[in-house]
C-alpha cells in the first residue's frame, strides 16, 4: 500500500514535469518573445520599411513596439497567409498591410476593425480622395492609406521625341520606330494576373466605361468596356509588343526594358529607382508621362493601387495598433518611403515637401493622375472578379471584343454572387 502510494506520487511528478516541458516548448515554438505592448505588423516586403518601423518605435517611447513580419513577395501569397490566419481567428497579427482591393473583402468578412473617432480623423486628414475611397466599405473607414500607386508611361527620350497622349498615338510612334530599326517595343504586363486587370481597368475608365454598378452588385459591362477590349486587342495584334507579353508581370517588363530594346513601358513608379541602380545607361534617357488615354478629347484616368493599414479584429491590442499604424503612415514616414522606395504618398502635402523635388522628380505627373484616378470596383468579391477578368482577357490576341464582353457579363455576375467556378 505504502509502496503504491509512493509510486503514484512519482507518476504524478513525472506527468507534471512532462506537461511543464510540453507547455514551455509550446510557448517558445508558437509565439515570438514579446512584451505586452508588442504590435505585430504583417506587411509585404518593402526595402526600407524596417527603418520606418525603427523610427516609430523610437518616437513611441514605450507606448508600442512594432515588430515587422514580412509577408510573401507576391500579392496572392500575402493575401492567402492573412486570410488563412484570420479565418482561424489568429490573435498573433495586429496591423495588416492590405492591398487596396482587399479592404472591402476583409471588412465584409469581419476580419478588420473600423477606424473611428480621433484615429479616423487623423487617418483622413489631408489624405487624397482616391486612396481614401479605396479604404472605405459601406460608408465606413477600414484602413489608413499608407501609400498609393499609379502607373506612368515610361519612354526612352533618346528615341521618342514627344510622348504620346493617346493609345493609338503610342502604337503609331512605335510602328514608325520599328520601321526605322530603333528600339520600338511597347511593354505591358499581360500575364493572366491582377496587374493585367489593372491595365484593362485604366483603359476602361479612360474610355468612360463601367464594369460593375456603383453598389457593387450588378455586372454592367458597357460600351466603354468593349472599347477597352478593342484597344488591348489592337495592341496585341500590332506586333509591337514583346513576344512574352502574355506571360509577363510588372517586374518581368522592368527587366526587359532595362535591356534596351523597348521604347515604351507602362508600369508603376518602382521601376525608376530600380533602373537607376541596375541600368544607369538606360535610365539616363528614361522619361515619364501621363498614361496614354483612350480618348483624344480627355486625359486618361489611371487605376490606383497601394496599401492600406488595417487593424485585425482578433488583435488583443487595438489601441496600440491604431497608434502604431498612424505612425507608419505619417507624413514623415511617407516622405521617407517616397524617396527611398519610390512609393507615392497618400497625404497630398508631402508632394510639395522640400527634398521631394530632387529625389522624386515624377511627383507632379503622379499627383496629376492621382487627382482624377480610376478605382477598381469596390466589392468583397473583387478577387473573384479579377480572376475571371484576367482569364477572359488573356491572351490579349484571343480577345473578340463583343463576344468577350458578353462572357464578362455572365461570369462577373457569377463571381459577384460567389457562384460558379473561378477559372
Amino acid at each position: 500500500m505504502r509502496v503504491r502510494e509512493r509510486d503514484r506520487g512519482a507518476v504524478r511528478r513525472a506527468v507534471a514535469l512532462g506537461l511543464a516541458v510540453a507547455a514551455a516548448a509550446g510557448v517558445t515554438a508558437c509565439a515570438p518573445p514579446q512584451s505586452a505592448n508588442t504590435v505585430n505588423l504583417y506587411y509585404a516586403p518593402e526595402e526600407n520599411l524596417q527603418t520606418v518601423v525603427d523610427k516609430c518605435n523610437d518616437q513611441a517611447q514605450g507606448r508600442f513596439k512594432i515588430v515587422y513580419h514580412k509577408l510573401p513577395r507576391d500579392a496572392d501569397g500575402q493575401r492567402e497567409q492573412m486570410v488563412r490566419r484570420l479565418a482561424a481567428q489568429d490573435d498573433g497579427m495586429d496591423v495588416l498591410g492590405l492591398d487596396t482591393t482587399w479592404t472591402a473583402e476583409f471588412a465584409r468578412a469581419g476580419w478588420v476593425r473600423e477606424w473611428t473617432g480621433e484615429d479616423r480623423e487623423q487617418a483622413e486628414a489631408g489624405t487624397l480622395a482616391g486612396p481614401l475611397e479605396s479604404a472605405r466599405y459601406g460608408g465606413k473607414l477600414f484602413g489608413a492609406p499608407k501609400n498609393t500607386n499609379v502607373q506612368l508611361l515610361w519612354y526612352r527620350s533618346d528615341v521618342v521625341r514627344t510622348p504620346p497622349r493617346t493609345w493609338d498615338d503610342m502604337i503609331e510612334q512605335a510602328r514608325r520606330l520599328k520601321a526605322e530599326g530603333r528600339p520600338s517595343t511597347i511593354l505591358i504586363p499581360g500575364a493572366q494576373f491582377e496587374g493585367y486587370v489593372v491595365q484593362y481597368n485604366t483603359l476602361l475608365a479612360s474610355a468612360g466605361g463601367r464594369l460593375i454598378s456603383d453598389d457593387g452588385t450588378r455586372a454592367v459591362v458597357d460600351e466603354g468596356a468593349v472599347r477597352a477590349l478593342e484597344q488591348l486587342k489592337a495592341l496585341a495584334d500590332s506586333g509591337l509588343t514583346s513576344p512574352s507579353m502574355s506571360n509577363a508581370q510588372e517586374d518581368d517588363i522592368r527587366l526587359e526594358f532595362q535591356q534596351g530594346e523597348a521604347a515604351f513601358q507602362l508600369n508603376w513608379p518602382f521601376v525608376y529607382p530600380s533602373m537607376q541602380e541596375d541600368a544607369p545607361d538606360v535610365a539616363r534617357n528614361v522619361h515619364w508621362a501621363r498614361y496614354p488615354s483612350s480618348d483624344p478629347d480627355r486625359p486618361s484616368k489611371v487605376t490606383i493601387g497601394g496599401f492600406n493599414l488595417a487593424v485585425s479584429r482578433y488583435s488583443p491590442r487595438p489601441a496600440a495598433s491604431f497608434d502604431a499604424a498612424l505612425c507608419l503612415r505619417s507624413a514623415e514616414s511617407q516622405r521617407f518611403s517616397a524617396v527611398e522606395d519610390g512609393l507615392p504618398p497618400t497625404i497630398e502635402s508631402v508632394y510639395s515637401g522640400p527634398e521631394m523635388a530632387a529625389e522624386y522628380p515624377m511627383r507632379d505627373t503622379i499627383l496629376e493622375e492621382l487627382r482624377d484616378p480610376a478605382i477598381r470596383p469596390i466589392t468583397p468579391a473583387y478577387q473573384n472578379v479579377s480572376t475571371v477578368l484576367s482569364k477572359l482577357l488573356s491572351p490579349a490576341s484571343a480577345i473578340d471584343p463583343p463576344r468577350t464582353a458578353e462572357r464578362m457579363r455572365t461570369e462577373v455576375q457569377n463571381a459577384l454572387d460567389s457562384q460558379g467556378v473561378m477559372p
Partner: protein
C-alpha cells in the same frame, strides 16, 4: 482451457489498446478532413460572406459538373497524365535496363540518375520557366521565335517535359526492382531456344515484371493526376493549362469559396479512388507486400 482463453483475450485486448492511439490519430488526420470536405461540399459557404452559409444539397456538384472550366481542366489533367505516363514508361524502362546492366560504377549511375527526383519541384519549375522565357532563357528560341509558354500546345508540352524530367528516375527505380525479379537462367534458356533480344524482352522479361510494372504505373498515375506545382510556376493556369488541382486551389484558397472548392476536392478524391480501383481490380495490381496473385 479457460485460463488460456482468458489469457488470449487479455492479450488481444492489450493489442487493441496499444494500437488504438495510432488508429485514432490516423482517423483524425486523414478521415476527418475528408468527411469535413464532403460536408462542406453540400453547403453554400464563402468565407467572405460568413453569414450566408446554408445547406444546398447537390447544387455545388451541378455547378461544377456543368462548368466548362472544370471540364477543360479535367481534360488537361487526363492529357498530362497519359502523355507523361507513356513517355516515362518508355524512358524509365530504357534507363532501368541501362542501370541494371551497368558494369562499372553501378552505384554512381543510379545515384546520378536520381538527382532530378531529389530536386524540389518548385525550384526546378522556376528554372524551366526562365529557360523557356525569351531573353532570359536558353531554350526559348530553340524551336520558334515566340514565347512557347504563352501558347497552349507548347505550354502543355513543356509542363509534360518538366514532369517527365522530374519523375522518370523514380519510374526507372521502380522498374529496376522488377528487373531484378527476372531470373538469369530463364533468359539464358530462352536464348538457347533461339529467342531474339526483342522476344526475350517482350515474352520473358515483361510478363515476369508485370506486378512491378503495374505498381509503378499505379503510383505514377496517382501522382501525375494531382499535377500542381509545375503548372502554377510555369503558366499559373493561363491559356487553359489549369489542372483540376490548380482549379480546386484557385476556388478554395484564392476564391475562399469553401463550398465549390470542397466539391472539386471531393471530385478529385473520387477520381483518384477510381483510378486505384481500376488498377487493382482490372489489371490485378498487387499492393506492395500482397501475395503473388495480386489479390487480397
Amino acid at each position: 482451457m479457460s485460463t488460456t482463453d482468458a489469457a488470449g483475450r487479455a492479450e488481444r485486448r492489450l493489442g487493441w489498446a496499444l494500437c488504438a492511439p495510432a488508429a485514432l490519430v490516423m482517423v483524425a488526420v486523414t478521415g476527418w478532413p475528408i468527411l469535413y470536405a464532403v460536408w462542406l461540399s453540400f453547403q453554400r459557404y464563402d468565407l467572405k460572406y460568413p453569414d450566408q452559409r446554408e445547406f444546398v444539397g447537390l447544387d455545388n456538384y451541378v455547378t461544377v459538373l456543368g462548368n466548362q472550366y472544370w471540364w477543360t481542366a479535367f481534360g488537361v489533367t487526363v492529357l498530362i497524365t497519359v502523355a507523361q505516363l507513356v513517355i516515362e514508361f518508355v524512358l524509365g524502362m530504357a534507363l532501368a535496363l541501362i542501370m541494371h546492366r551497368a558494369l562499372i560504377g553501378r552505384g554512381l549511375v543510379r545515384t546520378v540518375s536520381l538527382i532530378p527526383y531529389g530536386i524540389v519541384t518548385v525550384v526546378a519549375a522556376f528554372s524551366w520557366r526562365y529557360a523557356w522565357t525569351p531573353d532570359t532563357g536558353y531554350l526559348a528560341n530553340l524551336f520558334t521565335d515566340g514565347a512557347p509558354l504563352t501558347e497552349r500546345a507548347s505550354a502543355l508540352a513543356i509542363i509534360v517535359v518538366a514532369e517527365v524530367w522530374k519523375t522518370t528516375p523514380f519510374m526507372a527505380l521502380l522498374l529496376m526492382t522488377g528487373l531484378a525479379l527476372v531470373p538469369e537462367d530463364m533468359l539464358e534458356a530462352a536464348q538457347i531456344d533461339g529467342a531474339s533480344r526483342w522476344q526475350r524482352f517482350t515474352q520473358v522479361m515483361l510478363p515476369v515484371m508485370k506486378p512491378a510494372i503495374l505498381v509503378a504505373l499505379l503510383f505514377r498515375t496517382l501522382d501525375a493526376f494531382r499535377v500542381f506545382d509545375n503548372i502554377v510556376v510555369l503558366t499559373d493556369g493561363a491559356q487553359d493549362t489549369s489542372s483540376v488541382s490548380v482549379l480546386a486551389y484557385n476556388n478554395l484558397i484564392k476564391g475562399l469559396n469553401l463550398g465549390i472548392g470542397s466539391t472539386m476536392s471531393v471530385l478529385i478524391f473520387l477520381a483518384v479512388a477510381l483510378i486505384a480501383f481500376l488498377f487493382v481490380k482490372l489489371f490485378g495490381t498487387a499492393a506492395p507486400g500482397a501475395d503473388d496473385d495480386g489479390r487480397r
